[in-house]
Amino acid sequence: MIRHDYSRVDPKRRANIDHKKRQFANPEFKQQNYEHRLNYYILPPTAEITLEEFETWAINRLKVLSELEACSFRNRTPEETAEYMTSILNKYMPLRSNSSRSQSLQEERKKDHYSHFILRLAFSATEDLRRRFSRLETMLFRLRFKDDDLRERKEFISNLNLEWEEVGESEKREFATELAAASGIKKGDEQEWFKVDWERVPELVEQRKVLLKRGKAYVPQREQMSLVVAEFTKRLDEALELTARALPRLDEDDRLAPILAHLSQSFTSPDAAYSSSDASIDGLSAPTANSIDTLSKHFPLCMQNLHMTLRANSHLKHFGRLQYTLFLKGIGLSLDECINFWRRSFKLMTDEKFQKEYKYNIRHAYGDVGGDANRRGRGYTPYSCQKLLTEPLPGTGQSHGCPYRTFTQDNLVALLQRTGINDRDLLKTVREDVSKQRYHVACNRVFEHAHKREIKKVKDDGSWSATDLDTILHPNTYFKRSWLLKHLGEGNAGMANGGDKMEE
């Protein structure tokens, strides 16, 4: 049933399938035989499956992809990710090698094949979903490629017919030193090399892991994975584009549409989303430009850093300004007050320059100006930790991002000390956290330390549930929780600032 939708994708393109592929494309509604464990997912499924299989398989794959995404968010290393994913893959999407001689090989591969194509349909609607899907499918493919049986992997690759030119002996000798330096492989170690147009291995080029000569990249054998993966991504991206264009026709099948819609929705927000309820905090009167200095003691380190930088320089570069503006919007600072805040903070700037170059951007962030969609959506959502942890590192002169990630350990400790964190053991543990790239763990640890007393109280008297004290994944959650904890029972007993040692 999926097949007939696909066959209508683009007649011209289908005609381009070469003879080899055409012979495979012939049989309709027939079981396919899966020779290899790995799959480039070139050919769409051709056999019937039940509606239940359709949904279950898709949900299982979705589970796998979501867990993969979570791994990348937690900055797990490839090894940690592989280890973590093993049980999940075994449970939801086992995929065994030929050598396992399992009875269910074909069934497993069929499920892998079909579920991939179902999710393709579900996630091709927007550019954003396509990009995420492609990224996660690539991660999954890489993971499986790595642990594939060596011999079977070789067979799979040779079956792909990728055009790789081997580097001859004389050229290997001529460039021996450079080849070794570029790849990090010791000179003299036996090694085969391929020569390809550099555009085919952008990843390796970006990381300077290959030698480049006049537009050709010299790729060592062991980086073959990179080539195979890049090719996988490329083909998937192209296919997703085509699916997107064919998508409207899918509405014809009204049994599938709701399932697909549901799938894509459940994929849309695994990230800690900012909720507008974060902006309304019991007992906190609307913040003003004047109150930010006082409130800033409740800010997470990323925002405190921006605040201090702003105070020190009377300026912030644009990414920092954007990050901070959205955060301030998120704590409930009104547009007018926000404009006030920036106007006063940029002490050295003329009014004219401010009006001309800065005000519009603040208004835009609030959705006060811009196109319909921006206004409707009230501008942009405050950044989550995930966003801050995955964006490119700041350049010189910039101070946005998450300091746990962007600062050296020494500078990070100095910054923490400036915010009043002096506990030696804590600082030591924070160092360990960040060296393992567990940035959000470090941040939560600092939070718990700074609010030790209050957390104990709300736990003891049961006034806060466990969810209320869940790991913080959003700077605005950090603020809200900090403020509330530091103003416990303010309405009745004035606990505010009572005895806490959150030094300023």
Binding site: D128, R131, A181, E206, R214, K216, G371, T381, Q386, D410
Partner: protein
Amino acid sequence: MPHSVSPEPTPHEDSPMPQADAVPIKTEPDTQTPDIDMSDAPIPTNAESTKVNLDDLFDDDSDPEFGSSIPQVKSEEPSQRSPSPIKISSKSSFSDPEIMRTFYQRLFPFRYLFQWLNHSLVPANDFAHREFAFTLPNDAYLRYQSFATADLLRKQCIQLLPSRFEIGPVYSANPRDRKSLRKASAFRPLTKELVFDIDMTDYDDIRTCCTGASICHRCWAFITMAIKVVDVALREDFGFKHIMWVYSGRRGAHAWVCDKRARDMDDSKRRAVAGYLELLKGGDQSGKKVNVRRPLHPHLDRSLNILKDHFQTTILAEQDPWAEEKAAHLLQLLPDHTLRAALQKKWDSSPSRPSPAKWADIDALAKSGSISKSAKDLLEAKQDIVLEYTYPRLDSEVSKKLNHLLKSPFVVHPGTGRVCVPIDPRKVEEFDPLSVPTVTQLLTEIDEFEWDDSDKKIADWEKTSLKPFVEFFRGFVAGLLKDEKSGVKREREESGEAMEF
């Protein structure tokens, strides 16, 4: 340099539009929340890319001195070859409408600009579907302008007198028609030169001779070094041939890589090139900015060889980066505790030692035994320091996106009045930004030109000091067109074969 990204950098929605068909400022923001998109993924290649990216809206790196307001534009156009002298007085400002009008009428090399962007002498879509963006005298910013011919572009310039204009990608349809297209996806950027932007602001933490917008010969050497390193990498490593370097008019330089192979690159490939060339990592608080594995990648090894000599002259002798207490940063970059302590002691007693002496102290003290790590470690640390102070600092965001706009060559920088002239990379050492002609100077040169009979046919630019630059540009364009022609021929042959199949 203020780099304009596809979205409007400085929107002025209330500015009156000087002309009926001028496109109003369009700000359709991205409808998705930034959270969904966690990667620094490329701007989508469909029409979404015409929407404003909020990050870009916050781009404030605009030129501090830019933007003097000048009187309203007169609508009537004076005769093209005004026989009367141009009347330059010492009071004339660079962006005076009469000056700009005369500049566009008589000096701007529209013909070669057209050929450059069109890749052929016959008008084609490479030019017609190319986006131009104008910054008008009242600071309004007009996106999605396009022109079928060089002459139409020229007419528009003479009419609107933009203080500058920028060049964007070639789109899949005429940018002026983008709203009438039935499907939004029918309008997307297809090709554009691979561009680079090197700006002195990125050197502010190591530049000691000047601050802000000003430059001198000493700090221009940073740009010279950068051009040398990037140019050779683009040619030898990536195999690009048609690379045009352009002075940005004040304190930086742009590169336009015009090879077809470069123009066709999607964002992931642009990102790859930018990443390959990028070395310094981390913000001001991240400490050591150079962290590279050994042995050095051949590109870095070659760069280091180019930069070594500059380090001695440009950095140590001329910038004196570690004067007095600034030596602390140097100490921070040395990994050896023993050596650091010995140096600290020595410099505490004579803080005014000039940087070359301090640099020499490192080896001297190491030789005398104040060292706990290996000589190799020290050598590598010193190499890293050389790279931190000399390696090009590119504004890589500009290079990563197909739909980024960049200021056109040969426009006038509104702050300095200097023309954005090409720089010959073979003679990059000789290029002197402070002697680049200003628009007023050029117009005076036309006035003062001595006529004689043999000079009857010459163009106005030939009468001025713009001449060598226009000639260089003409030569560059001719070389590009020649390669383009043979490329087209080859493509035809190939597709011919395919059709037989």
